[in-house]
Amino acid sequence: MSSPFTFKPLEIPPELEPLREQVREFLREAGRDWSGWKVGHSWTGFDKDFSRAVADKSWIGMTWPTQYGGGERSHLERHVVVEEMLAAGAPLGAHWFGDRQSGPLLLRLGTEEQRRRFLPAIARGEASFCIGLSEPNSGSDLASIRAKAVRTDGGWLLTGTKIWTTNAHLCDYMIGLFRTGGGDTKVKHEGLSQFLIDMKTPGIEVRPIRDLTGENHFNEVFFDEAFVPDDMLVGEEGNGWKQATSELAFERSQPDRFMSCFPVLPELVDAINKRGSPDRLAAREIGATVADLVILREMSLSVLGQLAEGKTPAREAALVKDLGNSHEQQIPNLARDLLDLPATIEQGNRLSELEGILTQNVPSYSLRGGTREILRGIIAKGLGLR
């Protein structure tokens, strides 16, 4: 009876199976030519055409009110769509951050005008969002950020640098956290505010950072007195820390935190079968991985149920992300352990391409969206370790 965490079950009713089938049908068509390399990028892959096609199906902003371009569908319906997309390794990046995070933020805290302007655009697959949090000297210690917003006539002038901003070079808008006051080390969580920033604003320069895969996914974003009008402040001035961290339960508990490598598993199963009758170790490892995934899915659904009830299960979400990242990170190695993979990346071989990109990508999983160490700190505090 003594667990400090709540994980009450939530089940997907069989009535949602037709929706699942629709998504599968759509993905079979849309994903016909996706390479293993592309699929390996999963939800960070940026493909505007794909996002527009998803929007045509009304699968972005599904839970939002219809007056803002949403579908007023349930969180479970959205979950079904999301997990199907992730299972297929679909490129969600052009709408994912708006759908998962920025849209819900505006729905909760945005002004009526902000909602009317941005939510329908996200739901149409037209407005892509990025999240500006980290800075060159503020990573895990996020509250120490120094980029500042200074009041000016009719708005704010933004100055400073954001870094590791995924897809900033491709996005239309950023939700950025800036210092509007405070800054004292004792009250560093105070005086932070969130702004909705048009990336075309003069004074903003996006400098791509090539990552270890040789590709450019994240960026450094420089602000030099970039003007943001008053009505683009999100929520309350000075309340940005609370607002930004309350998004985290949404950001940390969903299947994107444990399914980034899922597309390897079906390929791995077929490759083991191709070799002949499976040995005990292979069967064991596959079974253990599937069991792990089923339980993660149960946990993620449970957090979803609590979010849908308006609760903020931040610790539970941290816990799901910690377990989920460990699960997804070990999948490329699992394939290496169970197969005799060649030392080359074979173009056109789906499993080989997946292994190629994912082996390089997985270290980022326990960094992005809160490092493993930060998550464990949150869990430890939740346990009452003083």
Binding site: M1, I12, P266, G287, V290, V294, E373
Partner: protein, 357 residues
């Protein structure tokens, strides 16, 4: 599940929590590990009426679902309650459903399926039955041609030999040679092709989840109290993170246990036990490992309570089918179905064991 029924299950667990936290200490556990039956604790449980919690109302039970009874089973695990409570609750569930009379007193369960001959006699063996030497009865699933029967055996009709386990709970190996059951009945599809094995696996999973919660709270307490280098060891990040990881494993075990219980309620006990036991074995391994690291040398002593919990974790990983056994079974299923079926297999809505989804 209605709110009202949830309350019954939780109230029951709270009652057990009060009883166990007051009564079950190291001395009581030691006495049982040395072979004594804890009559006083058993009588207190009888008074609460928890033995018949899972038995259907028409059999005089409370008629709780497994999902509703999960907090009670977990609480018994949490305190390492030194009585065969879960086993007896499951026996009452099965006997009541089979329309057989539920006997008084504790009942042990056999994992293995035995054979029932034309003369109504049971033959077979069971390699490990915890608690049997302290029970008057053993519940056995036995086959006769295509039909499955539930058989209540008198312990006196069985050949017992004592076996050693890590948990040191009195346990026996059983030989059953043409023994006549006290009573038996055909049970159709009440249990699937694996007999009571998935039900025992579910019980052990839920018990392990309880134990992991217990270890976690002991570690948090010790982390805040024990000082080294002038401060509580829980202030050190290395220790914090070890305990945080343990919390994650405990939470996963808890979700797994409840998942398994929910599947028993839908007549898919095998599906539930497969996932739950495969997941919770590693959780128990890592949880026990972390707890021993946190407690240091004192936790390695006989007088400390820790090993009464960690030895049970190590033992319960192996009972009711080990995590490796279930994982291999699941893996073979997944491999036989092929890669394309993997994701649909995970998302398939509930259908009973053995039915096509």
């Amino acid at each position: 599940m209605s709110t009202e029924e949830t309350t019954i299950g939780e109230l029951l667990a709270e009652q057990l929590e009060r009883l166990f936290s007051r009564e079950v200490d190291r001395e009581r556990i030691v006495a049982v590990e040395q072979g004594r039956f804890d009559r006083a604790l058993w009588d207190a449980l009888e008074e609460i009426g928890v033995r018949l919690a899972l038995a259907p109302e028409e059999a005089g039970g409370v008629g709780l679902t497994w999902e509703e009874a999960e907090p009670a089973l977990r609480t018994a695990g949490e305190w390492a309650a030194p009585v065969p409570l879960g086993e007896t609750m499951i026996a009452a569930w099965a006997l009541g459903r089979a329309g057989l009379e539920i006997p008084d007193g504790p009942v042990a369960l056999a994992e293995e399926i035995m054979a029932l001959d034309e003369g109504g006699r049971v033959s077979g063996s069971a390699s490990l039955v915890p608690w049997l030497s302290q029970c008057d009865y053993l519940l056995v699933v036995a086959r006769q041609n295509q039909s499955t029967h539930l058989c209540l055996m008198d312990r006196q009709s069985l050949e017992l030999s004592a076996v050693d386990t890590l948990a040191r709970i009195p346990s026996s190996r059983v030989q059953c040679h043409k023994a006549t059951p006290i009573d038996f009945a055909e049970i159709g599809d009440l249990v699937g092709e694996l007999g009571l094995l998935p039900h025992i696996a579910t019980l052990r999973t839920v018990q392990m989840a309880g134990l992991l919660d217990r270890l976690l709270s002991l570690c948090v307490e010790y982390g805040n109290d024990r000082e080294q280098f002038g401060r509580p060891i829980g202030k050190f990040q290395a220790v914090q993170h070890m305990i945080a990881e343990m919390a994650s494993q405990a939470a996963a075990a808890r979700v797994a246990g409840l998942y398994a219980c929910r599947q028993v309620d839908r007549n898919r006990a095998i599906q539930g036990a497969t996932v739950a036991k495969a997941r919770t074995g590693p959780a128990a391994t890592r949880g026990a490992e972390a707890a021993h690291q946190v407690f240091g040398a004192i936790g390695f002593t006989d007088e400390h309570i820790l090993h009464y919990y960690s030895r049970r974790l190590w033992q319960w990983r192996s009972e009711g089918g080990s995590e490796n056994w279930w994982a291999e079974r699941l893996g073979r299923e997944v491999l036989a179905a092929g890669g394309e079926k993997l994701w649909p297999h995970i998302t398939a809505p509930a259908t009973a064991d053995g039915e096509d989804s």
